[in-house]
């Protein structure tokens, strides 16, 4: 497994939002699903199975970890498992943030030049 965050970039939109959703702290599956929908302004609307496909992959890559004691948000009828970013996951998210920032900066400059 590669431990250099650059290796994991660029992230897909859904992966980026899942990691971003976990940036403030641990969450269970349903909370991630809702958060991703809100963060993406309803553009990324994950189904349960798609969410867990991504979660499985992120667990395999070591970007998130599973906690069996349940998060603070677990409620009645909810399975007591939650997810949290690993150090590597956080570094990957930060690296993606820097990459996106660079892209936005370049785009802004070029668009200004074109508009001038």
């Amino acid at each position: 497994m590669a431990y250099d965050p650059i290796f994991y970039l660029p992230l897909t939109e859904s992966t980026f939002y899942i990691l971003l959703s976990l940036a403030p702290g641990r969450k269970h599956g349903y909370a991630i699903m809702k958060d991703v929908k809100d963060l993406s302004r309803r553009r990324v609307n994950l189904s349960t199975s798609t969410l867990y496909t991504a979660v499985g992959r992120l667990l395999d890559q070591g970007l998130i970890e599973r906690l069996h004691d349940g998060g603070q948000e677990s409620g009645p009828g909810l399975t007591r498992k939650s997810y949290e970013l690993t150090d590597l996951g956080r570094r990957v998210l930060e690296a993606e943030h820097v990459r996106l920032q660079g892209m936005v900066k370049e785009a802004r400059l070029r668009l200004r030049e074109g508009g001038a």
């Binding site: 599956g29 349903y30 699903m33 609307n45 994950l46 189904s47 349960t48 199975s49 798609t50 969410l51 867990y52 496909t53 979660v55 499985g56 395999d60 009828g77 909810l78 399975t79 498992k81």
Partner: protein, 346 residues
């Protein structure tokens, strides 16, 4: 809808279901409860979204499980050849079959000038197959089919040992000193070296804890060691046919006889029958070699025909007797007192 989703979860691989099934169902239930509270349209939208995502997720989960199984080495179980099966027979007889193929290929290449790429491809194929099966047999804990491969190694080691003695000029010393050379040819040290190596192999497998189960297997089923030693014979035959021209058809036929002996060995149940299969294979192989040599000498119309013929036939007979004796060595296991050894996996 929740019950239907529970049923659909059975389309995921079992291990995936055990890992995520409960969570998938719980999250789906919450999504449906939330959507239902917002009205029929939202519930329909969530249902469609869930059904749309399922086929890809199921396919992905199956691929993931397959990949995990490969990484865990489960795929290697297909190489656990069942004793007596065709695969085991093929794997066990590969050193003989490939030696035969190499000899014939060399003959054909010399007479019909095979293109260089064909020769290279054949040699690469030969060594890849033998090396691949050798590594597999080592990884699989030295199964029965692997023993002739160890025999090939033993033959190479005994040749190196013999070569070492010759390099020390011990052969010259042997023939000069006190007339021993008249009664006992120095060439017989090849056999003595082989016997010493067999004892060394047994001593190592007896004393190294990791290999003790292998030693115990050899003791419990003594013809196994004979089968291991049987693997040395193609190399010995090669030495026997050294200095001949156009010997390949007879050489290949001799190896074919050995292959037949090995084939019967793998199909017999009783130890004595298996041992006899090897001895008969060896006998047929040596008779073929002797007949081949006689034919080659007669065709060569040499000046010293009678002398060479007698000398070569005596040499072949000596080889046969030595090999027959060496193949019989494992029978001594039956005379040893039995001792309990800790069982471990090799």
């Amino acid at each position: 809808m929740k019950s239907l989703y529970a049923l659909l979860l059975y389309l995921f691989p079992r291990t995936y279901r055990e890992e995520y099934g409960e969570e998938l169902q719980a999250v789906f239930n919450l999504s449906m409860d939330d959507a239902s509270a917002k009205g029929g349209f939202e519930a329909m939208s969530v249902t469609l979204r869930e059904l749309r995502g399922l086929p890809y997720a199921i396919l992905h989960a199956h691929l993931r499980e397959r990949r995990k199984a490969k990484m865990a080495g489960k795929f290697a179980s297909r190489f656990d050849f069942e004793p007596g099966s065709g695969k085991e027979t093929f794997a066990a007889l590969t050193p003989f079959l490939f030696s035969m193929a190499m000899v014939l290929f060399g003959y054909l290449a010399r007479h019909w000038i095979a293109p260089i790429w064909a020769s290279i491809a054949f040699v690469i194929l030969f060594w890849s197959a033998v090396l691949g099966l050798f590594l597999l047999g080592s990884a699989k804990g030295l199964p029965r089919w692997f023993l002739p491969y160890l025999g090939v190694l033993l033959a190479i080691a005994s040749l190196l040992f013999f070569n070492f003695l010759v390099n020390l000029r011990l052969d010259v010393w042997w023939h000069r000193s006190s007339g021993w050379g008249d009664d006992f040819n120095f060439g017989n040290f090849l056999w003595i070296g082989l016997i010493l190596l067999v004892f060394l192999l047994l001593a190592i497998s007896r004393s190294v804890p990791r290999f003790r189960p292998f030693y115990q297997r050899l003791r419990d089923d003594w013809p196994l060691l004979s089968f291991l030693l049987y693997g040395t014979i193609p190399m010995i035959l090669w030495l026997n046919f050294d200095d001949y021209v156009n010997e390949e058809p007879f050489f290949a036929l001799s190896i074919l006889m050995l292959t037949l002996g090995g084939w019967f060995y793998l199909r017999k149940d009783k130890p004595l029958n298996r041992f006899m299969s090897l001895q008969i294979g060896l006998g047929l192989s040596m008779v073929t070699a002797a007949a081949g040599k006689a034919a080659l000498i007669l065709w060569s119309r040499s000046q010293e025909l009678d002398f060479i013929l007698t000398d070569e036939l005596v040499f072949t007979l000596e080889t046969w007797l030595w090999l027959a004796a060496i193949l019989s060595l494992p029978y001594l296991f039956r005379l040893l007192p039995r001792a309990e050894l800790p069982s471990q996996t090799v």
